[in-house]
Symmetry: C2
Subunit: 272 residues, 2 copies
């Protein structure tokens, strides 16, 4: 669950990104992230844990500095013992924004789950620090995380594997590389398990900037597909056999391109 | 447009099939087609024009006879002049059911479009003959036919190529191999051009048996995805540039597995 808000302070933005965000030519998502973080005053902390590449953290340090961030530090957290380190916790506590890189979301959940670093990230967000994540880093942000699942359109009873995520947001399940990897089936499977969830499918180079009121704005070149199961009239999920196509009546779907907005709490889409 | 109903006679079923229907092990779609056609009394006419394979027509003749059809004749229509042939027209006029095979739907529209054979098929359906088609043969059935388009989820202004079809049904646009080839993007593009259309995406080995009241029942192992844009609140279709992701607010979507029903005229899904 999200940490409770700190008295008199607004929660920071939560910013899932669908992966493959533009880094050089027109890096509008990363630029907006640096701007929100404070620009020259920014202290950005990079969590490269999802990646097995040595240079992922230093690459984002350089990117953020090139985009005008005053400070950007990557924390070398590669195993659970690293996620207790006091120096790391100090940096997170003082950060204006935290960025979680891509890689494998099960590395994030298995290495960070239940550690002081995970708690510090939630507390930082509650006091106003912004938390962004791309690809695996976007998946880990929500309470219920998609760890894997089937490709395609039509959902099945066994079409998605959910795992507990970091819990910065609760009522949303996020998927990434959405259009590029044809992931509607697994998102539909996830929301039809329990219609309290809203499904948010992020295309590559596309981000949801979720503000403290749980309203997000779409930034980037792709779309965000929102699947709202709240008016669902019938689902065969509980009766279906493994692998069998499901019947789901009355799903609401929105396709949201750059500039469109979605109110997660009230489940309303806007274009202004 | 469909031919007007003949006095005192019901229109025959219209049966689009999503391709790759099971032919040997559990051919429930083809069996139901033969049963509707009259079983021992059936006179089934096969239109193999979409296919470039020599044996497509004779293969279906054998299949239908093996499933108990009294008579099954394939019409060798391979060019426009064949579609004037009086012998062919006689067979269509006397058929209890007509089956259009798969292949390339642009062969069907370019060879049959505007010919006496196309007109005879519409008239046969109006007097009560059932018309089924698989894959390309399903596409050609509706007034507005998907000839091609983009793979994926997110629609674009140029995401689909429509062509005039045979017009047995009017307010529906059909797509096939739907889950298998990830065709939601092109179906969404089609229905967002003009929301009078309902999008019907048929998985392989899955058919919509559409009765004379425009209510269909799902038969087969996959699902039918229905996209109903009638409550759409906003679409950026008219303003979007080529290739740009669209914003579409408030689409209604149903996923319908075997046995589920959909009332096309009233746009209501049922499970009974």
């Amino acid at each position: 669950m999200p940490s409770p808000a700190v008295d008199g302070q607004k929660r920071g933005y939560v910013i899932p990104i669908g992966g493959a965000e533009e880094k050089i030519d027109n890096p509008e998502i990363l630029s907006k992230f640096v701007e929100l973080a404070g620009g020259r005053e920014a202290k950005i902390c990079v969590i490269p844990t999802a990646s097995r590449l040595e240079d992922t953290g230093s690459r984002y340090e350089t990117l953020f500095r090139d985009l005008g961030a005053g400070q950007a530090d990557s924390l070398p957290i590669a195993e659970r013992s690293d996620a207790q380190d006091e120096t790391h916790l100090d940096i997170i506590e003082n950060a204006t924004a935290i960025f979680i890189t891509g890689g494998n979301q099960l590395r994030l959940s298995t290495i960070l789950g239940g550690t002081p670093v995970a708690k510090a990230i939630r507390q930082a967000n509650a006091r106003g620090a912004h938390v962004g994540g791309t690809s695996a880093g976007a998946a880990i942000i929500s309470q219920h995380m998609i760890a894997g699942g089937n490709v395609g359109i039509v959902p099945t009873e066994d079409g998605v594997n959910l795992a507990p995520g970091m819990g910065l947001i609760n009522t949303v399940v996020v998927d990434q590389h959405f259009n590029e990897r044809n992931r509607l089936a697994r998102l539909l499977s996830a929301v039809s398990y329990n219609p309290f969830l809203v499904g948010v499918g992020l295309d590559e180079n596309t981000a949801a900037f979720i503000d403290e009121d749980n309203i997000f704005t779409v930034v980037g070149s792709g779309a965000i597909t929102v699947v709202d199961p709240s008016d669902i009239e019938y689902s065969s999920m509980a009766e279906a056999r493994r692998g069998e196509a499901l019947t789901l009546l009355n799903l609401k779907v929105h396709i949201l391109a750059s500039g469109a907005r979605y109110d997660i709490s009230n489940r309303i889409a806007h274009i202004d």
